[in-house]
Every structure is written in C-alpha cells, then in structure tokens.
Symmetry: C2
Subunit: 173 residues, 2 copies
C-alpha cells in the first residue's frame, strides 16, 4: 500500500512555513541533508562535470568555443587527414550529430571539409589557418585560466591523480 492518508497529513503538518521565520518546525530554513547521496560517486561526478564545463565556457568565452568544439579542433590538429567518421567516432559523437557541429565550425572558417581523392565518399577534415590560430589562443586560455584554477584548487599531484582515475574509468569501466 501507499502512505496512509493520516500519515501523509501528519507529514504535511510537520513541515515548517519555509524561510519566513514565523514557523515552528525544527528544520527552519535548514539546508537539506544529502545523506547517502554524498557517497554516490556518480552524483559528485555529474555535479563536478557541470562545474568544470561551466568554468571552461567562461574561460574560453572570448573565443566562443564549447568543450566539444575545442576537442574537435584539438583532434584535427593532432590527426590531419582524417574523415568525419573517424573524428566523430573518437569523440563519441554520432555521425549524424557531427554534421551540424561541423557546419558550425566550417561556417566560422575554423575547419573545412575536403573531398578525399582516394575515396570520394569521405570528407577529410582540415584545420584552417584561422582554426589553428583560434585553437592556439584557446589552448592558452584553457591552460592559464581553466586548468590553472583546477590546479590551484586540488594541487598538481591531486589533479594528476584525479585525471588518471577518470581516464581509467572512461577506458576500463
């Protein structure tokens, strides 16, 4: 069965009139208890990820790059001559969803699709000079502001240990 009507009514009555101070409950404006939530790794993982992405966006705001776009540019620089399927697959982006993303980067002249001469079905992705320049500036912002802030919070050793464990989870879990 569900909670009894009388029990529900008791619960409702036990509540306090929120923050206004003219109440009688014991939990007057008190912060909630996370309880076992604070032991759930996935919960902190998600909250931390949101914070880190937020900060990334702030730090690299002058260049108008999202984490996903930055990762694409990084990958293009490190892996010239690759096609859409290869780049998208490496980043865990589905090919259909990669199309609009590339349209955005290409319309800003950060990269170009070049039809491969070997296989005319595939588009080789090429960083433009502007793309290379924006990427270089982005790297500096990320290193000087974003990663530096994480380093300040955790310390270099902890930051490295954290990165190693996250990479392990991403790889082996």
């Amino acid at each position: 069965m569900t909670v009894s009507k009388t029990a529900a009514a008791d619960q409702a009555k036990a509540s306090r009139p929120t923050r206004k101070g003219h109440g009688d409950g014991a939990t007057e404006g008190t912060a909630l208890q996370l309880g076992e939530l604070s032991e759930l790794l996935g919960y902190s993982l998600k909250r931390a990820q949101l914070k880190v992405f937020e900060d990334f966006l702030r730090c690299v705001a002058p260049l108008q790059l999202t984490p996903a776009q930055f990762s694409v540019l990084l990958l293009l620089e490190k892996n010239p001559g690759r096609n859409q399927t290869e780049i998208a697959g490496t980043l865990g982006i589905l090919r259909p969803n990669f199309v609009a993303m590339l349209d955005g980067l290409e319309s800003r002249d950060l990269c170009t699709r070049v039809r491969s001469t070997n296989d005319r079905r595939s588009h080789i992705l090429v960083l433009t000079d502007k793309g290379r320049a924006v990427l270089a500036r982005a790297k500096k912002l990320v290193a000087a502001k974003h990663e530096a802030r994480l380093n300040a919070l955790l310390g270099p050793a902890n930051r490295a240990a954290l990165l190693a464990m996250l990479a392990k989870i991403a790889r082996e879990f």
Copy 2:
C-alpha cells in the same frame, strides 16, 4: 586567410582509403591520437561520467530508476517534510523541470505530493511505502553491483580519494 586550396588538396591526397588495406597512407586503420585531449580534465570527466551513469542504469534496471530519480528518492527519505522547491533546488533541478519528474514518480506510486497545512501553496513530498521499498532495493543493487564495480576497478582508497576530489570541485570550484 584560410587553408589554401592547394594545401587542402595535398591534405586530401595524403589521406588513406580508411580500413580496407588497399591504401598507401601511414595512418592505415590506426587509432587516432588524443594528444592534449588526454590532459584536459573536463574531457575525461565527461567520458567517465557517461560510463558511470550507463553502469548505474544497467545495475538498477530491474527497478527502472534513473540516477536523477534515485537521488530524489534518497533525498526524500533523508529529508521528510520538504517541498518541491527545496528538493529540486538541492539537486540543481529547475522547478519547472521537476514537475514532470515528480509526475512520473507519483504515477508509479513512489512518492506523493501533500498540500502543506502551514502554507497551502507548497507541496510536501512524501515517500510512499512502495517508494521506500523500491529505494531499499535500489540501494542494495547500487552497493552490491555499481559501487562494488567501481571499488574493484580503483580500490577502496583511490575510490575515496576520487570522491573527495569530485565533491570538492562540485562544492568549491
């Protein structure tokens, strides 16, 4: 300026015919280099978070609970007599988005909205007996399967250190 047409053509010609083996490029079917991406904390954070949530869903699949739903039930159990705004706010869920989520939980008889007698605007959220039972089973599955697997991968000490760092980022970053 952008990449020159000739440079782009060179790039396209330099590519290999993907995996089929009848190509001449050096990167024949080679895995891509992540490069500086593997040093970007946010990148591993995101990939790890996706893996952990995937595993959570698998482990708790018999109960049909998402991580977000599980976190709501945990919070209701630990904080009786709270209203929607308080629960949603603690979890970082916007009040409008919390409505449909509660509709789902309430339609499955896992919790109920009870109009507060102190402030008739607010709905006190109450775990039903069924909600309590499902939560208890979910906790067991999470502990025995999900968190146990993470423990096996990282070891208890590392897992604790990881959780502490993620919580610190979520709190202070």
